[in-house]
Amino acid sequence: MSTEAQIASFRQTWQNLRAEIGKVMVGNDAIIEGTLTAILAGGHVLLEGVPGLGKTLLVRTLSEVLELSFNRIQFTPDLMPADILGTNFVVETPDGRREFQFQRGPIFAHIILADEINRATPKTQSAMLEAMQEKQVTAGGELRKLVEPFFVLGTQNPIDQEGTYPLPEAQLDRFFFKLLVGYPSAGELTEVLNRTTENVKVKPGKVLDGPSLIELQSLVRQVPVASHVKDYAVRLVLATHPKTETAAPIASQFLRFGSSPRGGQTLILAGKVRALTQGRFNVSFDDIQAVAAAALRHRLILNFEAEAEGITTDHIIAQVLKDVPKNAEAVRA
C-alpha cells in the first residue's frame, strides 16, 4: 500500500473510530480525539474529572471499537502491586512435584483501564511505572514483556478529593496526555439521559485491530516535521523551565519544575497525528499549539505561589504559547 493510500486509510479509520465511539459517548469531542490521538501516537492517557462524567465509559467503549484485549483495574487503597502485575503460585505438577507458576496480573492486556488510579497508594501506583514506559514488568525476579500495542488509560478524581493520593511526578510524566473531563452541556446531558434511561442498547462496531493500529502508529512517525516547527516545540518546552534564560516570565514566577523532554516528544508526536487527521503531510505550528495543553499540563509542577493564587498549569501554558514566537532563531544548544 502506498503512503498516500495509508494516509487515506488513516483518515478513514479516524473517522470510523470517531463515529463508533460517538454512538456511545455523548459530547466530549476533545476528550475522545485526545484519547484517540494518544493511542495512535502510542501513548497513555490520564483522564481527570469528577465521578460520573463518562471516563470509564469512554475507555470501555474504546476497548470495544478496537479489537484488543482489555482489562480494568479498579484502584483502591488496599490494592497491592502484585494485584496488578501478577504473582507466583505454588502449583503441583502432574508428576507430583511442586513448582512456582506465575499467575499474570491484569496488566497483561492491550488496553488497561486504571480506574481511579489516584485512590491507590503510591507504592501500588509505582507498580505501573515500568509497564508504562518499558512495556514490560519485572515480577518474581523475571522480566516479562507486555503485549503490543499496550495502553494505559487512567482515570482519576481531582486530587483534592477525599481519599486520593497524588500521582508521583515520574508516573505523571509517563502519561502522553492528561485530559480534563468537564461537565456536559444541557443538550449533551439530555442526550445522556435519553440513552441511559431507555431500553436502547448500542453496541459499537470493531474498527481497528492490533496489527493495523501498529501500522498506523508507524505511519504517524513518518510524518515530516520542519526544523522550525521542531524548534518551536523545543522553545515551548524550554520556556516552561523556570529560572532559566529561556524561561517565559510566567514560568519563572509560578513553576517549580518545567516539562521533561517527554513533553517535547509528545508535542511532536501528537502534532503528527493531528496533521494526518487534518489531511496534511506536515506538522504545523497550529498542531503543536493545539496539543500543547494536553501534552504539558501534567508535566508542569506549580509552586506555592501559583497554588495560593489559584493559577493552573493551563493558565501558564496559554501564556507561554503567547510569549513564545512561532518563527524565531533556533535555540542554540
Binding site: 503512503t3 494516509i7 522550525h228 496534511r280 503531510f281 506536515n282 518563527n327
Partner: protein, 650 residues
C-alpha cells in the same frame, strides 16, 4: 516546470516584493523619525533660544534618517526559506511551503517528499505577491506625513522666545551692522582723505579695526560699548590735543563763517564763475529773473492743462493767446541769454495742434528753466564768496582764508625770485607783508616769518625774505594739514558716536541716521577743509573736539536700562517709614561744592542684583555721556561726572 521550481519561483517573487515592502516601511519609519526630529527642532526653535543652525541640522538629519530607513529596510535579502515561512504565516498554509522546501533540500527521497511538494505547489500557485503585499501608505508613513504636516503648520506659528533673547539677537545684529559701517566709513575716509599725521592715521586704522572686530567677533553690548567708549576717549584726547594749537582758531572761525566751497582759491572761484556764466549766456539771467520766468511758465502750464478743445472757437482763441504768451516768455528768455529750446518746440507743437507734444515740451522747458535757475543761484553764491575773499595777504589772513593766503605768498615768492620787481612794486610788496604781520601772528610762527620777511625786505635782503615767506607758506600748509586731520578725526568721532548710538539704543546703523548736517560733514568740514553748513551749532570753546549738541537725535525712550527702573517708579511702597522717606538735600551751584543729590536714611534696599556690574556701569556711563552731550549737566560738574566714570574704569 517542476513542482519545486514552481514553489521556488513563487517564493522568489514574494521575497523580492517583501524586500521592497521592507524598504518602503523603512522609508516610512525613517521619515517618521526625521519628521519628528524636525518637528521637535522647529518647536524648540520657536520656543527656546536655540542656535540658528539647529534647523538646517535637523533638516539634514531628518532626510538622512529617511534615506537610512529606506536603505536599512531594503538592505537585507530574504532567503527562500524565510520567504516560505513568511508566506506560510501570512496565507495560513500550515507550514506547507517551508516544510516542502526543507524536505526537498534534504537528501530524503520517497513518497512523503513528493506528497509534500505536490501539496505545497498547489498552494504556491495561489500565491500572488501583489495581493499579498499591496503597496500602500503604511501606518508609520501616515504618521510621518502627519508629523510633516504638523511641522509645516508649526512653521506659521510665530516664535515665542523670550524678549531677552530677541533683544540679544538684535543687539548682536546691530553691533555687527554698526561695526561693518564703521569699518567701511573709516576706510573710505582713509582712502579719500588720507591723514598726514601718523597718530591720526593710527587712530583711524584702529577705528576700522574695531569695526572689523565688531563684525567678526560675537561681542556683548557692554563689551562693544566699552570698546567704543575707550576708542572715543582716545580719539577725543587726540583731537583735543590737535586743536589746542591756537593757530587753528582763526582758521576754524573763518571756516564756520564761510560756506562749503569757501576752501576754494580765488583762481578756482573765478574759473567756476566763468564756467557758470558761459552756461547762463550773457549774464543777464539772474536767479530772480529766472524765478519770475519760471512762475510765469508755471501759470501758463496750468492754463494749458485746462485749455478747451481745439475745435471750439473758445479753444482756438485760447490757443492763440497761449502761443502769444509763450512767445513773450521765449523772447524774455532770449533777452536774458537763456536757451530754452523746449519752449520753442512747445510753441511749434501748439501751432501744429499737437496738444500732447505741446504739454511734454512745456515740461521740458520747465525742467530746463529749473536747471538754469539752480546754476544762477550757484553762480550768485560763488560771486558772493569771491567778493568775501581778501584782497591782500593781510585781509586773507585776517579772514582766515589760509589757502588764498598761501597762494598769495607763493605769488610773492615767485615775484621775489624773478627779481623783476620795480621799486614801487617792491614797496607795495613790503607794505603788504608788513601789514600782514599782525593778522599773521594769529597763525603761530606765520607772524614771525612774515615779520622777518618784512625786515629783510626793508633791508633789501631778498633771498632771506624769500626764505621767510616760504617758511610762512609752509607753516600755513602745516596748519591746514592739521585742520584736515582734525576734520578726519572729527568725522571718525562722528562715526563712533553713531555706532555708540546704534548699539546703545539697540537700533540699526540706518535707524540712527545722522541729522541734516550729514555724517562727517555735520559740523562742518567738507573736503575743502572748511566748516560747512550747521556750523552755528558749534560751541565756541569746544569746537569739533568733543561730542556735539545734536543730542536731539538721541531718542532714549526705547533704551532698556536693566539697572534702572523707569524714572519716578520704584519698588518702594508709598507708605514707608519716616526714616525711609527720601530727603532732598539742596546742592549749591558752585564749582567744587557739593552736588545736588538724593539720599536715603536708614537701611539700604536689600536684594541681589542680577545685572553685571560692567554692564550697569557702561549703561550708566552712556547715559551720563548723553546727559553731558545734551548739556543736561551743569558745566561746572561735567568734569566731576567724567572723573567719576574714569575712576570706575580704573
Amino acid at each position: 516546470m517542476s513542482e519545486l521550481q514552481l514553489i521556488e519561483t513563487a517564493l522568489r517573487r514574494a521575497a523580492q516584493r517583501r524586500r521592497w515592502e521592507r524598504a518602503w516601511h523603512g522609508l516610512g519609519r525613517g521619515l517618521l523619525a526625521g519628521a519628528v526630529l524636525w518637528m521637535l527642532a522647529l518647536a524648540a526653535f520657536k520656543l527656546f533660544p536655540v542656535p540658528g543652525w539647529l534647523l538646517p541640522a535637523a533638516g539634514v538629519a531628518g532626510v538622512t534618517l529617511a534615506l537610512a530607513g529606506l536603505v536599512a529596510g531594503g538592505w537585507r535579502k530574504f532567503s527562500l526559506a524565510e520567504a516560505a515561512r513568511w508566506i506560510d504565516d501570512r496565507k495560513h498554509f500550515e507550514e506547507r511551503l517551508s516544510t516542502a522546501l526543507e524536505v526537498s533540500a534534504s537528501s530524503a527521497t520517497g513518497e512523503w517528499k513528493n506528497l509534500l511538494l505536490t501539496d505545497a505547489a498547489r498552494h504556491a500557485q495561489a500565491v500572488d505577491p501583489r495581493q499579498l503585499l499591496p503597496f500602500g501608505l503604511p501606518l508609520v508613513m501616515r504618521w510621518a506625513l502627519l508629523a510633516l504636516a504638523l511641522s509645516a503648520g508649526l512653521g506659521f506659528v510665530p516664535e515665542r522666545r523670550s524678549q531677552a533673547h530677541l533683544r540679544k539677537q538684535q543687539e548682536t545684529a546691530n553691533i555687527r551692522d554698526a561695526g561693518k559701517h564703521l569699518a567701511e566709513l573709516t576706510r573710505q575716509m582713509l582712502v579719500e582723505r588720507p591723514p598726514t599725521l601718523a597718530p591720526t592715521e593710527k587712530a583711524m586704522t584702529d577705528t576700522a579695526e574695531l569695526g572689523d572686530k565688531f563684525t567678526k567677533a560675537t561681542l556683548g553690548r557692554s563689551e562693544a560699548m566699552r570698546d567704543l567708549a575707550s576708542l572715543t576717549d582716545k580719539l577725543g584726547e587726540q583731537a583735543k590735543e590737535l586743536v589746542q594749537n591756537p593757530a587753528l582758531k582763526p582758521l576754524e572761525k573763518a571756516a564756520r563763517e564761510s560756506g562749503n566751497s569757501g576752501g576754494a582759491s580765488p583762481d578756482e572761484l573765478q574759473k567756476q564763475i566763468a564756467t557758470l556764466q558761459k552756461n547762463l549766456g550773457n549774464g543777464a539771467a539772474t536767479a530772480d529773473k529766472l524765478d519770475e520766468l519760471q512762475k510765469n511758465l508755471q501759470k501758463l502750464q496750468q492754463q494749458a492743462s485746462k485749455m478747451p478743445g481745439k475745435d471750439s472757437p473758445a479753444g482756438a482763441a485760447a490757443r492763440e493767446q497761449m502761443a502769444q504768451s509763450l512767445g513773450d516768455l521765449a523772447r524774455q528768455a532770449k533777452e536774458m541769454g537763456a536757451s530754452l529750446p523746449g519752449l520753442e518746440e512747445a510753441i511749434s507743437a501748439l501751432q501744429a495742434n499737437q496738444t500732447d507734444l505741446f504739454l511734454k515740451d512745456l515740461d521740458l522747458a520747465m525742467s530746463d528753466l529749473e536747471k538754469l535757475k539752480d546754476m544762477a543761484k550757484a553762480m550768485q553764491q560763488l560771486q558772493q564768496q569771491a567778493a568775501k575773499l581778501g584782497k591782500d595777504l593781510a585781509e586773507q589772513l585776517k579772514n582766515g582764508q589760509a589757502q588764498a593766503a598761501q597762494q598769495t605768498l607763493q605769488k610773492m615768492l615767485e615775484q621775489l625770485k624773478a627779481g623783476e620787481l620795480s621799486r614801487e612794486q617792491l614797496q607795495k610788496l613790503m607794505d603788504e607783508v608788513s601789514k600782514a604781520v599782525e593778522p599773521g601772528s594769529q597763525y603761530g610762527k606765520v607772524g614771525e616769518h612774515l615779520k622777518d620777511a618784512s625786515k629783510n625786505l626793508q633791508q633789501g635782503q631778498k633771498p632771506d625774505a624769500s626764505q621767510n615767506l616760504a617758511a610762512a607758506a609752509k607753516e600755513l600748509d602745516k596748519l591746514m594739514q592739521q585742520m584736515q586731520d582734525a576734520q578726519s578725526l572729527q568725522a571718525t568721532l562722528d562715526a563712533l558716536a553713531r555706532a555708540q548710538m546704534a548699539i546703545a539704543m539697540n537700533k540699526s546703523w540706518g535707524e540712527c541716521q545722522a541729522g541734516p548736517q550729514g555724517q562727517g560733514k555735520g559740523r562742518g568740514w567738507g573736503h575743502g577743509g572748511k566748516p560747512g553748513s550747521g556750523v552755528g551749532t558749534w560751541a565756541e570753546e569746544d569746537g569739533w573736539t568733543y561730542f556735539n549738541d545734536d543730542g536731539i537725535r538721541w531718542d532714549n525712550s526705547n533704551v532698556q536700562r536693566p539697572d534702572l527702573d523707569p524714572r519716578g517708579h520704584t519698588d518702594r511702597p508709598d507708605d514707608v517709614r519716616d526714616d525711609l522717606v527720601p530727603t532732598k538735600v539742596r546742592g549749591q551751584m558752585s564749582p567744587g561744592g557739593s552736588m545736588p543729590s538724593i539720599t536715603l536714611k536708614g537701611v539700604s534696599i536689600k536684594g541681589t542684583s542680577n545685572v553685571k556690574f560692567e554692564e550697569a556701569a557702561t549703561a550708566a556711563q552712556t547715559e551720563a555721556q548723553n546727559a553731558l552731550n545734551q548739556d543736561q549737566v551743569p558745566r561746572a560738574y561735567q568734569n566731576a561726572v567724567r572723573d567719576y566714570f574714569d575712576d570706575l574704569k580704573k
